[in-house]
Amino acid sequence: MTDFLVLDGITKRFGNLVANDQISLRIQKQHVHALLGENGAGKSTLMKILYGVYKPDAGTITLDGKLLNIHSPQASRAAGIGMVFQSFMLIPAFTVIENIALSLRDVGIVVDEKKIEHDIREISDKYRFGIEPRAKVWQLPLGAQQKIEIIKLVMAGARLLIFDEPTSVLAPHEVEGLFDIFNRLRLDGYTIIFISHKLNEVLACSDEITVLRGGRVVGSVVRADATESLLVSMIVGDKTADSSTYARKSIPANVEPVLQVRDLCAKDDRNRPALENISLHILPGEILGVAGVSGNGQKELGEVIQGVRPALSGSIKLAGQEIIHTSIAQIRRTGVTCVPEDPLRQGAVPVMSVEENLALSDASSTQQRDWQRMNWSAARSRASWFTEKFGLKMPRLNVAIEALSGGNVQRIVFARELSAPAKLLLAYYPTRGLDIHAAEIVRLALLDYRDQGAAILLISEDLDELFAISDRIMVMYHGQNVGERLPAEADVQQIGYLMTDGKYTPEQEVEHVAS
């Protein structure tokens, strides 16, 4: 075996925070090498150093036996390194062709769009991407954008492909497709670094796994030696990962639901039906888990309940009161709060500091006696209390929130929304992108909130999570409620069929039992 990439003693500091501490790593040619670790472990930082975005404070990079001097992304690309970032670097207003032309080194002065289009089609066909080169990028789903990034790297002649949490933007069924692509790429001679914090994904696709913790390498194991329990202990160290089942609360049968939705219809942004006569209810102190492939009306459901999106017909009763046609402010006052899907953009002001973002929805730090003056010291102490409670690790509280890693932003917004009592919480993918430990904290916080009497609509793509903490699971398919199950009585297969097919028929049951 040859060491294709050797990192030696890589160190990177941000102020006092050591994001990468003497990291050394060997990666074999034609391997899928997984980097595993909690949020903030330093995975993205290490990859950005490799790609020339950050300059390391110390350490060397050797690729294919040659010592590299990487001072810019350009130098990195010239050396054959390509990166698919956590947030894509595509230009929405450009066509696929234009985006790819941007990343090519040897386009002529006059860009030959015909040739680029031809090459795109060739690669797209080879790896079965199904990409239309003349489409504008904003028209394409995230999964397709990821494929464009891959085409870009392949066409730019990269041999080492870095994927930073590529599965976080994919629906579950797309993840397998990505691993297929990894496999075909590897057979074609590419080497792949795959960042994730999902054990099952890492075990499903990698040849070797390196675990980072607190900016250091914990160790590397080849796939054959890796087990789930070994990896968990490497990731969390001496912390204990509590995965015991959670206590459910029994709810009296005669209470009035907090949320009662009847025959609700609404359209999506492109004016297509998103909700089609959906009905559901949630009792106080109940978590209703919503299973479903994303894009089946989950987003619109939450928006209509919050009053952000108009309903075409139907009714929504909150604590017995009709809320359709009331104002957003009125709905919030009635007690609806939301942890949005994209916390940085929908739940925070990116350029404001952590403190300011926490103070945004906190009545106690304003309205203090005189003239609504801000009480910054109260806000500040509350902010440190928050970060302690949620185990957030960050250099200072007065940094702009956009500088933090996605997982941290998510936890901050989550913490803020749960800090005040509400009747109804809409939680969108609250643990998406979080590591095991952080996800656990978030789940416990949700259960705690439920036990205080809140009704929770939990939208998640993690079926294990839905089964673990929901009191009831509802499946959404094409804007409809296609079935509800009690977690204790349902099995994953049933839910899976409902999610992908909208129905669960006796024949499927036979098939499922037979297999």
Partner: protein, 306 residues
């Protein structure tokens, strides 16, 4: 007057009056494509008009004047580039300051030249084509700079949409970080575009003083630079549509001039408002539609990382 003749005069005038604005609009389209708007375009036009005039008086060569005017506009715009790109200044504030700087500076250095006469650029009819009835005089009896302005429309379109450089330039205006991560230097590209935008405004100003009026007077652009910035929006950041906008504006100017010479019973002050009212109306109708085409980075402050 014969109505056909009237229309021919209006249209001929439209092409001529549109030229300074067309140059400036094309240039501003290019620099706004990198995300930098330059409200100082008015100041750059004045620099072009004034310096172009002075150099023509001194050397007797219209061509040297035009080149000097373009360079003067370009150099002034570099100040905007420095403030906005290097110092992270607000684009509106910097642009407005630049406009006043241009106004003051040209009033100062142009004072001795106010009553001077020059030949500058004469009308050069294009053989054969200019003899076509009606069309000929409208399209083919202009000065060389006017021909140049219209030839630049397809040239700039080709540059922006068919060349590697145009692609880079547009990428900077859509996403500096994406441009940077594909190995480009957004600051440098934005600088180049701002310089080009300033040169085009300077050339537009030079056409005004050297070919249109043949004299120099303080503040002679009368807001044409601002009109150009507005027309970039109407043109949805596309050079061909920008040219259409400039022609509409030129048409309004020409119409009010012709109406004045006819002596219709409308206040000349009111007529002079016509082009500006037209521009406002255009923005009113087009604002929403054009927003979709706006470069995503337009107006965003330059920071250290990008």
């Amino acid at each position: 007057m014969d109505p056909i003749m009237f229309i021919q005069f209006v249209l001929t005038g439209a092409f001529r009056s549109a030229t300074p604005v067309l140059f400036t609009t094309l240039g501003q389209t290019v620099n706004e494509k990198t995300g930098v708007a330059n409200l100082g375009a008015e100041g750059c036009m004045l620099m072009g008009a004034c310096v172009g005039f002075i150099v023509t008086v001194q050397t007797g060569s219209g061509w040297l004047g035009a080149i000097a005017g373009a360079l003067a506009g370009g150099v002034l715009s570099l100040l905007h580039g420095y403030l906005v790109i290097n110092c992270g200044a607000n684009q509106l504030a910097s642009g407005l300051t630049l406009m006043f700087l241009g106004l003051g500076l040209t009033a100062l250095i142009g004072r001795p030249y106010v009553s001077q006469q020059i030949t500058g650029f004469d009308v050069v009819p294009i053989p054969i084509l200019s003899d076509i009835p009606f069309i000929g005089p409208i399209l083919f009896r202009h000065d060389v700079l006017t021909y140049l302005a219209y030839l630049l429309v397809p040239a700039i379109w080709f540059f922006l949409y068919r060349t590697r450089w145009g692609l880079s330039l547009r990428a900077v205006g859509e996403s500096r970080i994406a441009a940077f991560s594909t190995g480009r230097n957004p600051a440098l590209i934005a600088y180049a575009a701002v310089f080009f935008g300033g040169m085009m405004a300077g050339l537009g100003g030079a056409q005004l003083s050297l070919a249109y009026t043949h004299f120099w007077v303080e503040g002679m652009t009368q807001g044409a630079g601002f009109i150009a910035v507005a027309l970039v929006i109407f043109g949805m950041w596309h050079p061909v549509r920008a040219a259409a906008g400039a022609l509409l504006y030129g048409g309004a100017v020409s119409l009010q001039l012709q109406l004045q010479t006819l002596g219709v019973g409308i206040s000349p002050f009111f007529l002079q408002m016509l082009p500006y009212v037209l521009t406002l109306a255009i923005l009113l109708v087009w604002a929403r539609a054009s927003n979709r085409a706006m470069p995503a980075e337009l107006g965003r402050v330059f920071t250290r990382q990008t």
